[in-house]
């Protein structure tokens, strides 16, 4: 239990550090928000309102604390603000309440929508893509890895090894363009796929629906590198575990070759593979900028790029924080999975 608390505290500290770095980085390096927001038609009154909301009229440290106050799940809110945000009152005060709320990431300069709404919407589509890509890459990668390890030194091994090395070296924006052009344009009559396309499509009669096939090409484009890396990792890890003495023991027990490979060798070869899978999964969740951009897939990646183009500060800061959170959560999950897979790793 103490270990769990320590771990949570540690991760909160990381998030806090990221938030701090993000705040100061963007406070100094970006054009001031009022310049971005104010157009010719904006009157002084609006500008003043923005300044007050973002506390730009205050010194930097006050701005910083206000930023943290917005982020923190526990805040002091006025009665009015409490009502407005549907926050849960922990402790009622005469003027301000201590409330529990979802971290407030402010509103997009561009659309005026809350950043968190934008992020969640984009995250759903990214999640969808990342899941498909990683499931494909993991299954195929582990499968090919086993084949290569068992057929070590043969032509099949050489061929798959070469192919996976190619897969590792080709940048995703290149394979994305190639896939999109080849299957979405040249062969589009055969495949029925489009060059670009997003997850949701709108049907005039039934409304919004999910277009599965639009996910195929981007998922493959995203999955190629993880697949190649997973298959090579599995291969090496399997070769290593096949050399272990307990494999000889398993063989001396008269077990079938299949059982030896799957239940004994693969089982202990899986740890590094899982580390890699989780790392890739986290980074795909963080948004595959190039691939999403090329297939005009409206996920975290495109959202961030768009925000950068328009200097939409709350969205940029929100994305960075969000991505950091995704990494922390995935890593924590993987640590937990390790304890399930390997009894030698002490649980929480």
């Amino acid at each position: 239990m103490g270990k769990l608390l320590r771990k949570v505290a540690y991760n909160v500290f990381i998030l806090f550090s990221v938030a701090t770095v993000v705040f100061f980085l963007f406070s100094f390096s970006f054009p001031s928000p009022e310049d971005i927001l104010a157009t010719d038609r904006t009157d002084q009154k609006t500008i003043d309102a923005i300044r007050t909301e973002l506390k730009l009229d205050q010194p930097l440290h006050i701005q910083y604390f206000s930023f943290l106050h917005d982020l923190s799940p526990v805040s002091w809110y006025s009665e009015e603000r409490t009502q407005e945000t549907n926050a849960l009152v922990l402790l009622g005060g005469s003027q301000k309440n201590l409330v529990l709320k979802f971290p407030y990431l402010r509103r997009s300069f561009q659309s005026g929508q809350p950043t968190s709404t934008l992020l969640f919407r984009a995250f759903k589509t990214t999640m969808f893509l990342a899941l498909i890509a990683m499931v494909l890459a993991s299954i195929a990668g582990i499968f090919f890895g086993i084949i290569m390890a068992l057929k070590r030194g043969t032509l099949i091994d050489q061929f798959l090894l070469g192919l996976s090395t190619l897969g590792i070296s080709v940048p995703s924006f290149f394979s994305a363009i190639l896939l999109s052009w080849l299957f979405g344009y040249v062969l589009s009559d055969l495949t029925g796929l489009d060059v670009v396309g997003s997850l949701y499509d709108v049907d005039p009669e039934t409304g919004k629906y999910i277009r599965w096939r639009n996910a195929i090409l981007p998922a493959i484009a995203l999955g190629v590198r993880p697949l190649s890396i997973i298959s090579q990792l599995t291969r090496n890890s399997m070769l290593d575990s096949m050399k272990q003495e307990y494999i000889t023991t398993a063989r001396s027990k008269g077990l079938s070759e299949f059982r030896i490979v799957v239940f004994h060798a693969l089982r202990s070869a899986l740890n590094p593979v899982i580390t890699s899978i989780s790392g890739w999964f986290a980074s795909l969740l963080a948004g595959a900028f190039f691939v999403e951009y090329i297939f005009s897939w409206k996920g975290i990646g495109s959202l961030s790029i768009q925000a950068l183009e328009t200097s939409d500060l709350p969205v940029i800061m929100g994305s960075v924080l969000f991505i950091a959170t995704v990494f922390i959560v995935v890593n924590a999950l993987v640590d937990y999975i390790y304890t399930l897979l390997d009894p030698r790793v002490k649980g929480l």
Binding site: K253, R267, S268, P343
Partner: protein, 552 residues
């Protein structure tokens, strides 16, 4: 059903390596009767385990195994193990032909519970329900004298002790009531006291079931009381084969004789140990015995002055406050003496070594040195007290040449003028029996014994007053062990060094030590002169510990 279980004729094993073919076993013949216990003895590289692994076709794909005949008579069929199909062999494995390997930690799967690993072998050969299998496994665990079979069933290998793990391995081997069990150095990884109990358990279990047993060992002492026949191997050749009693008491082959002679023990402690290469010479195909004159070690004058006094030393590991690893030790180490420290694993011998070399800090008590060295900083302290580790393979950095390894020590301690270091390293290497030109080589170019010599040279570089040898000869073959022991004795005399010699090998400790300290659960059971402890031990514990060591 005939009486014969296994008949091997002309077994050859070769390995294809990058540098050509290497013959590991040449023309091995043997016949094993049902229920017979055969010991195969030899040093590493003798081909003893390779030949037995070859029987079950457990060698890697780069091996080439041929034989005129390997006739194996299982209960219901007679087959040639090398010629039968993979399927037939798989059916025989475990159900008729079972193995126990040397290091149970690596031979058991780390991620599967002990019970399941045994259950799996039963299920592969017999059609039983899960419940029946579990019951059978637990019974077997009880027979192997494992405490609480039910909880051991669900335990993972790392949660058990070394001795318990080996009992699991034996249970695994016996679970399908095999006709033949091949045990490859089953007790080498265990400490002395356990070694005896485990080997007794193994032989008794086999006798009870009239299972044939092939016991592979490097230690002829260990197997002599437990086997019917004995086969000695050397560099892939069969040296001698016959009833154990005859082989041990009246060896005919020069190698067997050498092997027995070069064992350190209490009786020959005043002599330089003969080594295999001094005792025989290869002439073409045959080995010839050399005349060997036993050299007596010149007597040593031991000063009564103590180098190091240890007072009320106490230590417990973090998280285990209730369990003290060391419980108030009091003793001293005298100038120029060898103090042997023996004890079972977990007795605190290595902890003691770590405290003395300051890798660990004692909770209580003091280590006092002559000239007040205990007040020295870590670095200066290291120039007075050095350590030689057990494994000569992992204690040398593979990326540094021998010269660099030793020069590094000289640099750190600022010994010897820069220009003279090369010369000094050469002197050191020659002192430990290597060539000055070896300084340019990397550790992998040396054998285990040579590497241990390098470790000794490195320790000597700072001219220490005391060297801690933590199982320093345990990983070495008998003949190499003799060389290193001779070297240690010679250096001690030349340099008036004190040794703190930690080992679980009672023969070695009785050979090298002037005094012996027996540790048990962090306490001193006895500290006496070697003669006293060997001939008239004061405590019951040392009596049982040293029983059987002296009779040669």
């Amino acid at each position: 059903m005939s009486d014969e279980l296994l008949h091997i004729e002309g077994l050859n094993v070769a390995f294809e390596t990058a540098s050509g073919s290497f013959e590991a076993v040449k023309k091995l013949n043997l016949t094993l009767k049902r229920g017979e216990i055969l010991a195969i003895v030899g040093e590493s590289g003798s081909g003893k385990s390779v030949s037995m692994k070859a029987l079950g076709r457990l060698l890697g794909p780069n091996s080439r195994v041929t034989a005129a005949e390997v006739r194996y008579s299982a209960t219901d069929q007679t087959v040639d193990l090398l010629k039968c199909s993979e399927q037939e062999l798989r059916a025989l494995r475990s159900s008729s032909l079972a193995y126990v390997f040397q290091e149970p930690m690596s031979a058991l799967h780390p991620l599967i519970t002990c019970g399941e690993q045994v259950a799996e072998a039963i299920q592969a050969h017999r059609d039983l329900s899960k419940k029946e299998v579990r019951k059978e496994v637990e019974q077997l665990f009880a027979e192997m004298k494992l405490p609480e079979p039910t909880s051991v069933y669900d335990a993972y290998p790392h949660e058990l002790s070394g001795g318990q793990r080996q009992r699991i391995m034996i249970a695994l081997a016996l679970c399908n009531d095999p006709d033949l069990l091949i045990a490859d150095e089953p007790t080498t990884a265990l400490d002395t006291v356990l070694q005896r109990t485990v080997i007794e358990l193994l032989t008794e279990s086999c006798r009870k079931r009239s299972t044939g047993l092939i016991l592979i060992s490097h230690d002829i002492d260990l197997v002599k009381d437990h086997s019917d026949s004995c086969l000695v191997m050397y560099r892939g050749d069969m040296m001698e084969y016959g009833p154990t009693r005859d082989v041990v008491s009246t060896p005919k082959n020069p190698y067997t004789k050498a092997l027995i002679k070069c064992r350190p023990n209490y009786r020959n402690r005043d002599f330089v140990l003969p080594t295999v290469d001094r005792l025989l010479i290869q002439e073409g195909e045959t080995l010839k015995e050399l005349d060997y004159e036993q050299k007596t070690l010149p007597p040593r004058e031991l000063s009564e002055q103590s180098v190091c006094t240890i007072k009320d030393l106490e230590l417990s590991y973090p998280g285990k406050r209730n369990h003290k690893a060391l419980k108030g030790l009091n003793f001293d180490i005298q100038q120029g003496e060898t103090l042997g420290i023996v004890g079972e694993s977990g007795s605190g011998k290595s902890t003691l070594a770590k405290v003395v070399i300051r890798l660990l800090h004692a909770d209580k008590g003091a280590i006092e040195f002559q000239f007040g060295w205990e007040g020295l900083k870590r670095k200066e302290y290291a120039s007075k007290v050095q350590m030689i580790f057990q494994d000569p393979f992992s204690s040398l950095n593979p990326n540094l040449t021998v010269g660099e390894t030793i020069t590094e020590v000289l640099k750190v301690h600022n010994i010897c003028a820069k220009g003279k270091r090369k010369e000094y390293v050469a002197e050191l290497l020659e002192e430990v029996g290597l060539n000055a030109s070896d300084a340019e080589k990397y550790p992998h170019e040396f054998s285990g014994g040579q590497r241990q010599r390098i470790s000794i040279a490195r320790a000597l570089a700072v001219e220490p007053a005391m060297i801690i040898c933590d199982e320093s000869v345990a990983a070495l073959d008998v003949s190499v062990q003799a060389q290193v022991l001779n070297l240690l004795k010679k250096i001690q005399r030349d340099r008036d060094l004190s040794y703190l010699f930690i080992t679980h090998d009672l023969h070695v400790v009785s050979y090298i030590s002037d005094r012996i300290l027996v540790l048990k659960e962090g306490e001193i059971v006895e500290l006496s002169k070697t003669e006293t402890i060997m001939e008239a031990p004061e405590s019951e514990y040392s009596k049982t510990l040293f029983a059987g060591v002296i009779e040669e």
